[in-house]
Symmetry: C2
Subunit: 457 residues, 2 copies
């Protein structure tokens, strides 16, 4: 494809994406598509000769859209906002065109330095500890997901603990995202304890302390605690300060997973979310969840970047270079599991510059205000009750008639195609999670959802 | 950014990418930029108010390009081709615009089914074993990198071995890519053996057999062998068939890492690369290296997908859904470490359809022919000698005056900005790797490189 053909087809593809943005509100949020229906639209064999671009591009409407889920719909209240924005999409486009491999500073100084710089910006923007800045002993890096960030933290923590694997014990709460359990399995951590939570679904430090003592008495080696700032089910916030003090006393690595909630700290009035984070060894939050940036874009910070390098650096001959040898640069390959890496910082840089800090704050406040208004509507209806303290953009409710009535509402809303919800379980009850924060969600969308829920109730 | 503004800025960004494609040949392949020089162009603080888009986009030229490395230059002979193409970039653009999360079939039937289908296409296109197809017990998935694919294979193999971690032993050759050693460290595999290679840099099965026996005698549990089809330093091919027979006898998981070389099997005359692959439990190769597709795009196949699910599936309440419960769909979250996943299949689908199988074959043959011609030039010069058997697009040479003379050439070429090379070490000798296969590399670029090398010699 020549540059001129790329211009032509690229303009058309930009137009198609713009038209998708315009159409998405009218499309079913969950398409009613049977397993195998999309594959049935595809030929059994690939084409031998190339096809005209117009035919290929037209299949976005014919083949792809029928199986696309409305993650970008303003009626999206499921899982997490996953909010894409124009500047972010254009960052992905530029990144794809430049085709950089940022595994070493030497293989892309632009990718490496822009990433380090933007992540230092975000330390200030989110009110995170100065120790996370790369101009000291710490630093930030972009990962694909909070799963990968927590895996990297686990591996660094194990390396720092420097004991035989067979004895290691990691700790999470019963509300911690399943990815940390998966990470522990991947890393081969033999013991993972699920600590119980209090009435707000936050980890109980007293129980953790007892468990750590019991494990030590049994000859095991506690080494890692993952705290959640915003659990998946209810955005519960673990007591990070108390956990940090315990971890300091017990010499445990404290990782703080603030996947969806952490970015809200861009608003000074919400910085209570960061209480105690200065005691953490590592921290992650996802602009790809609620800061207008395309997946994949997870911020991962450490207080001591040498711990990552000690755990993950292997330098074969073909990766040696003068800049790395001089120790004057960051080589991000040592900060993550894969070797290769995309130029992810471009999209984040574009988003921050296009919206500005004030624009991003306004966006977060908008979602929080919509959720607060929804809470007043829930309180006004005797059939529904809040299952957890509402926080930020998440409202968790259940129908007083019980699990069946509650789950039927989730199923009916999802089957209607008019909005998307996720179910969860809290304190033994089936619960409706209403997650507000999609890029284009307005008051009218939340009102329509609540009206639909009431009509189903 | 409204859809109309996105159209306007998107067209301009497409034009910028097209202009980069046109300009890249004239830009220094390795820019001469000092550590910190890119950061010095960036303001210390992020903007409070949003900036005009034109100002942001202009900084691609002012701030980013001075630190961009010419991975997309036709004069790129370093590392691997990393070849981007127009259709692939447009696939990234569409994927970013749709903002899908393909963790479950239910969260994006389009992402899941297109991926499964295109990976089945590639089984046929590359002449891989039918057992890797998803309509049987196996299946393919897109990962970000061969590192992540090998990590997943290690974890599935450990799960299948079902023994205490403390006893496990994995095997690679001394030429295996460092990522497998890193993966073993991440997975907490206590013992990794580096088996010596023969004169072609291929793993010696006889030595592996002896080592496995010795490890069993010592009470350890051999469980995993990673074979390379195309090592990084010289594209050496391990004896996969003999390794597979040994692994079958010894009940070891055989993973075949064909990162750069494997895609060449799209040409029937190069399918010797697949000899014995039907004996492998898992296999990976990277269209993002040499099949015109943007990073990240690694094909990862398994013969028994249940082994992945057994190793990696954890199902919390918020991920439950009817389609998954019915067992009628693929949920790719269980085929990888992270939970979230992008719609990567779009770019690969676009590439296959735009070029057709015949077009992709022609592209590979073009690179192989250029390398073959370069080999004749090397043979004609008494100062240089081939260090390894030339294979596919890779030619490994050294200067007969020794390491210093050889390394000086690599440094001088890279410092010149006219081309990019990578050094490696083979059989004790510093070696120049000349990797041919960038999207736009023609005979004149290889000829210019060789002329430059001769003038430096």
């Amino acid at each position: 494809m020549t540059p001129d053909a790329f211009r032509r087809h690229g303009h058309a593809m930009v137009d198609w994406v713009a038209s998708y943005m315009e159409r998405v509100e009218g499309l079913p949020v969950y398409p009613q598509v049977a397993p195998g229906a999309i594959r049935a639209l595809l030929p059994h064999e690939p084409p031998v000769e190339g096809e005209p671009w117009e035919v290929i591009a037209a299949d976005l409407d014919r083949v792809v859209l029928p199986g696309v889920v409305g993650w970008q719909s303003p009626d999206w209240f499921a899982f997490f906002p996953a909010n894409v924005s124009g500047p972010s999409i254009l960052g992905e486009l530029a990144s794809a065109g430049l085709g950089q491999q940022g595994m070493l500073w030497a293989t892309s100084p632009a990718c490496t330095e822009l990433e380090a710089h933007v992540l230092d910006w975000l330390v200030g923007m989110l009110g995170l500890p100065e120790a996370f800045r790369s101009d000291g002993a710490g630093g930030g890096v972009l990962h694909d997901s909070a799963s990968s960030a927590a895996l990297t933290a686990l591996v660094a923590a194990r390396s720092r603990a420097a004991v035989s694997d067979g004895e290691l014990v990691a700790y999470v709460s019963t509300q911690t995202h399943s990815s940390v359990e998966k990470d522990a399995r991947v890393a081969g951590i033999p013991h993972l304890r699920l600590i119980d939570v209090d009435a707000t679904f936050a980890m109980r430090v007293d129980l953790l302390e007892v468990q750590v003592a019991a494990d030590r008495a049994a000859g095991l080696v506690p080494f890692f605690v993952a705290a959640s700032v915003g659990t998946t089910s209810s955005l519960a916030v673990d007591p990070v300060r108390a956990l940090g003090e315990l971890c300091a006393r017990e010499r445990l690595w404290l990782h703080v997973d603030a996947a969806m909630a952490g970015v809200a700290a861009i608003c000074p009035e919400l910085r209570g979310l960061n209480d105690g984070v200065e005691l953490a060894d590592s921290y992650s939050t996802n602009p790809h969840k609620w800061l207008l940036t395309n997946f994949d874009c997870t911020l991962f910070y450490v207080r001591d970047r040498q711990a990552l390098v000690d755990a993950l650096s292997i330098v074969p001959e073909y990766l040696r270079n003068a800049a790395s040898a001089a120790g004057s640069v960051i080589d991000y390959r040592d900060w993550q599991v894969p070797l290769g890496r995309r130029f992810r910082a471009l999209k984040l840089w574009f988003v921050i510059r296009h919206y500005g800090v004030a624009g991003l704050q306004a966006f977060i406040r908008h979602g929080v205000a919509l959720a607060a208004e929804l809470v007043t509507w829930v309180a006004a209806d005797a059939r529904f009750v809040l299952v957890a303290p509402p926080r930020l953009g998440l409202v968790c409710v259940r129908h007083l008639d019980g699990d069946e009535a509650t789950l039927r509402i989730v199923e009916a809303v999802n089957a209607s195609g008019r909005a998307a919800l996720t179910q969860t379980r809290l304190a033994g009850h089936a619960t409706i999670r209403i997650s507000i924060g999609q890029t284009h969600t307005e008051r009218r969308h939340v009102a329509a959802l609540w009206a639909q829920i009431l009509s189903l109730a």
